[in-house]
Symmetry: C2
Subunit: 335 residues, 2 copies
């Protein structure tokens, strides 16, 4: 299917001018998602959700739902966050920083609120998770955790698509619903590849949630969190821990007034947005059930291909590629 | 300099573990910009600025300053926009659409306000500008318009860094202060390159301003405009006209409440944000003078390199590359 689809694209790119209108416009990415069979959707466990209620805006409630990352990613910080929620530590802290085209950050503005005693210290090595090849001759290159290479996804932040630069192979793709990079580790550049192992790490796309830290790489506890509200700051990958993503209510964070202090910090106490409470999803009565489009499904592959090669009626020139953050994993309430 | 800088990076990427702390941390991108000599800054002509005053928020004025693109980019639409401003056409229209992680759009919500009679129709071929090689043996590959290849910039949306896909060479880079792609046109894939010509087009980064259109590629007049408020929607490149960028007051657009209708359109009239007036910069008394960091300057090269290879103290692993929208061209008020 991909080969056929690329034929008109190639014609376009070769400068053949406006193509004849296709008999039937291709589906848009959102149409592909809308038509995905129920079996292509995967449930998100309520216990993996963090429900953050901001102070209402006038009479309007502001609920932000965050999905925490599954194993093997960022385990230490996710554990800490669960403990901070259990201790009700986030209740009463606030959103303190909104920097345009960068991040919204929340936590204890005094930096003096005592932390629970059971938090763990996680070293910077936790920014990456190990993967191994569990494939066999029938199913080669099958990774644990699962990994799906993103066809038509190209990544300026790793080296496999570069002409120059230091040698590092890596693939952008998706693992159990999350955008990641997988980078094999070879004993040397010239070793014959028999089996693959390496590290995999989640990447900084719009809406991803991470752990703010001070200078030492192990300084972040999980008490201070941020989410991306602008163009993907991929330079943060492997320099700071990602722990989840906003799956609902993003607009309550992204539309906050920008802070006027350095780094977008609010300068006046009354600008800060109080966080009334943070609870795990299984503690919240009446919370909707959520699903993500399985990144191993045929529907997701078609969706990703359509994001990279827009052939629906509006487009006259498909790009032929996309960066991984321009292929957001679809999440929905269970219909 | 670049080679030397890459040595510790290579050590990191090869898995040598945490490096010894350098004797002196490298400058951050913002420090490089702050230290750029005055001669590396280029003036922005007030006549190329469009000053849009939104209705105040409470007592707070909301001014958005937009820089229009210089020749040879998007000439027809920029001409139309100048005529629309001269006719005071935008005065009294409104912001009607705010779609999270995508665009803010403004214009006449009724789509019935009569347009000035002197607007031109611009075909989709206007999405690209021609460039030619004016180099000689002393200065080969010198383009008109000027073009500076973005070292350490890699682009998923063109083909030069791809392993698979249709053959199209292209370079991400900067032309007279704007992020662009330059794509040479060859008579055939195998022609020996003697001189280069092709097309160059601006790209959809955060804060870029474009011309909304209906289905036909020539349907956009410039009366309906949008700006990007999320991750770069690069699939729009060459599918819609870019005409400028927001250089000040972006937060007045990006922090607007998201629309709850389809595509982020506001559903109630009172949600729309009135546009009081739009004037060219040379019509506005007391407007500050603005400059951009010349994309041909040594300071810009150092800044771009630092964005792609963060070596300042916070970072433990420089990425070794960046996408072009993660290297925003610095703009400032003349100090």
């Amino acid at each position: 299917m991909k080969r056929i689809a690329l034929m008109p694209l190639a014609a376009l790119l070769m400068g053949a001018g406006e193509p004849a209108a296709p008999a039937k416009p291709a589906l848009s990415p959102s149409e592909i998602v809308a038509q995905a069979p129920a079996t292509d959707w995967a449930a998100i466990a309520p216990a993996d959700l963090m429900v953050m209620d901001l102070a209402p805006l006038g009479a309007k409630p502001r609920r932000v739902v965050i999905q925490l990352m599954p194993a093997p990613f960022s385990r230490g910080w996710v554990l800490n966050i669960r403990r901070l929620v259990a201790a009700r530590w986030y209740d009463g802290v606030s959103v303190n920083r909104v920097q345009d085209n960068y991040v919204v950050q929340w936590g204890d503005v005094t930096e003096k609120k005592p932390l629970p005693s059971d938090l763990v210290v996680v070293s910077g090595s936790g920014y990456e998770a190990r993967f191994t090849d569990i494939g066999n001759s029938a199913s080669p290159m099958s990774f644990d955790p699962p990994f799906r290479w993103g066809a038509s996804v190209y990544d300026p932040y790793i080296n496999s698509h570069r002409i120059e630069g230091p040698p590092q192979l890596g693939w952008p793709g998706f693992s159990i619903g999350w955008p990641v990079v997988a980078a094999p580790t070879f004993p040397s550049r010239y070793t014959v590849i028999r089996e693959v192992a390496g590290t995999m790490w989640p990447v900084h796309c719009y809406g991803m949630v991470g752990v703010a830290r001070n200078m030492p790489p192990d300084a972040g506890t999980g008490a201070e969190l941020y989410t991306v509200i602008g163009h993907a700051p991929r330079q943060l990958d492997r320099n700071i821990a990602l722990v989840g993503r906003v799956i609902e209510g993003m607009e309550h964070l992204s539309s906050l007034p920008r802070g006027t202090g350095a780094l977008g910090f609010y300068e006046k106490a009354e600008e800060r947005v109080p966080i009334l409470s943070v609870r795990m999803g299984n503690e919240v009565a009446g919370l909707p059930a959520y699903q993500y489009l399985s990144t191993d499904s045929a529907s997701f592959a078609a969706y990703a291909d359509a994001r990279a090669n827009r052939r629906d009626a509006f487009y006259i020139r498909p790009a032929g590629g996309a960066d991984i953050c321009n292929i957001p994993v679809p999440v929905r309430r269970v219909p």
